[in-house]
């Protein structure tokens, strides 16, 4: 062909016996825009509706699904008005594909009504699902507590080797990140304090600020947040994918409770490791403060340490570790809960993981607030 035919052309013609002939010609390609259906519709509903529609593809060049989409739209339009469509003049390939597309009629009720829920309805649905999720959480907590009791009676079934492995994963392997974060947080606290205290020539009290701050609250809190992102997420992802691969079903049907076998060791591992990590974070945080004290405030390391030791009491230390332990339990429960609640698709595992971290952090901050009030009231 010497001249390149225009892309996707469309012309109409009427035969004497009131048939509408639609001639399609040129190259029809999906990456061009699809032709406008409006003129066809205008012809169909116009002053003189045709008796039948004939599609003529004499001048059709190359074609792909765009032709099929266009023709099946025409068929649908004509079908609505009871006008027969004659497709015999089309290439065999197009005819076959159209027949294939029309071979299975639309299944009744398969199309999902995409009704926009009203605000009230959405509030209602959310409330119900929030309530259900709360009840589910209570169930889980109850079951976990019973399982814990079973462990104390040495009746719980789990592998000791799993517990040791988990303790290594959540304890020893977290030391690096906890070191980094605590050191930096100690450093930041020292800077904040230094800016104020230097004005009064009381730079040495930076040691008190960092020491008390880290040991009583910040070390446990920062460690908990790191562990929520690190271990809480890992727990949820691990248990969620075990649900997807039916590994949890396999345990259940074997008569082994996944709560005992999977959840219990995870909670125990984190509860045992968190106070140790908190203690370690206390130390590193104080070192971070000392770094600022020695390099910027010209304090001697021994004076700094002596000031810290006199400021921080054993009760502060124990209180901080206790908080860390509670945070650890919260993180582990949130992670395992969301993992066990996970659906059985890969996106559901993602949702479970996200939700585990969010839940854990919300719980940790709430607990931190509650501790602040409680410790104040108790005068600790």
């Amino acid at each position: 062909m010497s001249t390149v035919p225009a892309l996707g052309e469309l012309t109409f013609r009427r035969t004497p016996d009131a048939e509408l002939v639609i001639e399609i010609s040129g190259d029809w390609r999906l990456h061009e825009a699809l032709p406008d259906l409006a003129p066809v519709e205008a012809e169909l509903v116009g002053a003189a509706p045709p008796r039948a529609v004939v599609v003529d593809a004499g001048g059709l060049g190359e074609w792909d699904s765009s032709v099929l989409v266009f023709l099946s739209s025409i068929s649908a339009l004509a079908g609505e008005r009871g006008v027969p469509v004659d497709r015999r003049a089309l290439p065999v390939g197009i005819q076959r594909l159209l027949e294939l597309a029309e071979a299975v009629p639309e299944k009744e009720g398969a199309r999902q009504a995409e009704a926009e829920a009203s605000l009230l309805e959405r509030i209602g649905t959310r409330t119900i699902s929030a309530q259900e999720s709360f009840v589910e959480m209570l169930h889980f907590l109850g079951d976990a507590t019973l399982t814990f009791g079973k462990m104390l009676r040495r009746a719980a079934r789990f592998r000791r080797s799993d517990l040791l492995m988990l303790m290594q994963q959540v304890g020893a392997e977290a030391v690096g990140i906890v070191t980094l974060i605590s050191f930096l947080v100690g450093l930041i606290l020292a800077f904040i304090g230094a800016a104020q205290l230097q004005q009064f020539g009381a730079a040495i009290y930076v040691a008190d600020l960092v020491g008390i701050g880290m040991v009583r609250d910040v070390a446990a809190l920062m460690t908990a947040i790191v562990m929520a992102g690190r271990t809480g997420a890992a727990y949820a992802a691990e248990l969620g994918s075990m649900k997807v691969t039916q590994e949890i079903d396999a345990l259940t049907t074997m008569g082994i409770s996944p709560l005992e076998f999977l959840v219990l060791p995870r909670i125990v591992a984190l509860v045992l490791m968190m106070p140790l990590l908190t203690l370690y974070a206390d130390l590193v945080g104080v070192l971070g403060g000392a770094f600022v004290g020695v390099t910027m405030l010209d304090l001697s390391i021994s004076a700094y340490m002596q000031e810290t030791a006199s400021a921080v009491s054993v009760l502060d230390l124990v209180g901080g570790m206790f908080k860390g332990t509670v945070y650890g339990a919260l993180i582990a429960v949130a992670g395992c809960l969301r993992g066990m609640q996970s659906g059985t698709s890969s996106s559901a595992v993602g949702v479970a993981t996200t939700s585990a971290v969010v839940t854990a952090i919300v719980w940790i901050i709430s607990a931190c607030g509650a501790f602040a009030v409680l410790f104040y009231a108790l005068g600790i």
Binding site: R157, T245, E247, D249, A250, T253, M254, G255, I256
Partner: protein, 262 residues
């Protein structure tokens, strides 16, 4: 509700079972019996609820209505402790194998042995090796599931399912994702084990080749009517069923006219 079944040869009885997700009824009024020692096929088109039926039979889903009996005992109404005991007599091969990914094959097989038998570690290891050898995985004891192929994972899953010498073996789509040869080998293995161990075997599948190769009895779930369309030996159903859907399924879409047998 718990009256005795008539036939003492019957191993599993499903009575008036209706399966539903919330308000959505998947299948209603399923009634069938599985005889002791036979290979029983649950078949039907994709999405008709075959695997869901299996999950009901092993207690992972509570029926919306109806009951499941093992021998004389009502499994559906049994309390949790009793259910757990009954479950111990089942072996289940899940669709994806569902091996515990953090354990080696030997550990996978010996975990149930450790939980429910008095065997010491060395004996457990020996039993695990034997079970793995039975499914052709001798020497793979210390491999992790991700280190072996899909077909081998299925077979290892079978070894684990057989760990406690179960009375009933359930298979969920055993040939899914396997090439024809592995699938045939697995079928042979199922048949061989069922014959020699005397276990009752329930298989969920839509693979015609498997159905005819191993199936001694079957039930057909019809997705259109949301109920069971037929039950009986698969070959008989193919040749004699008066239900066109069943015949079409078993003839791979043929209309069941004379002379169109496979």
């Amino acid at each position: 509700m718990t009256e005795r079944r008539p036939d003492s040869d019957t191993h599993i009885t499903v009575r008036d079972l209706t399966m539903a997700y919330g308000d959505f009824v998947l299948m209603r009024d399923l009634n069938f019996e599985v005889k002791r020692g036979e290979i029983f096929i649950i078949m039907g088109g994709s999405g008709c609820g075959k695997s869901t039926l299996l999950r009901h039979m092993i207690g992972l889903i509570e029926p919306a209505k109806g009951e499941i009996f093992y021998e004389d005992e009502n499994f559906t109404l049994a309390d949790a402790a009793r259910k757990e005991e009954m479950l111990r007599r089942f072996g289940i091969l899940y669709q994806s194998g569902a091996l515990w990914s953090s354990m080696t094959l030997a550990e996978n097989v010996s975990l149930p042995l450790g939980e429910f038998t008095g065997l010491n570690e060395k004996e457990r290891r020996e039993v695990a090796s034997l079970k793995l050898a039975l499914v052709g995985l001798k020497g793979f004891e210390d491999y992790y599931p991700y280190q072996i192929s899909g077909g081998m994972q299925k077979r290892a899953g079978l070894a684990r399912a057989m760990a406690l010498d179960p009375e009933v073996l359930f298979f969920d789509e055993p040939s899914a994702g396997l090439d024809p040869i592995s699938s045939k080998l697995l079928d042979d293995l199922i048949k061989e084990l069922a014959d020699s161990l005397g276990s009752t075997v329930v298989v969920v599948t839509h693979e015609l080749a498997s159905i005819f190769a191993i199936g001694q009895n079957s039930v057909f779930l019809d997705v259109e009517t949301r109920s069971m369309a037929a039950s009986g030996p698969p070959k008989e159903l193919r040749d004699q069923s008066d239900n066109p859907t069943v015949r079409r399924f078993l003839l791979r879409g043929g209309n069941g006219a004379p002379g169109e047998a496979l």
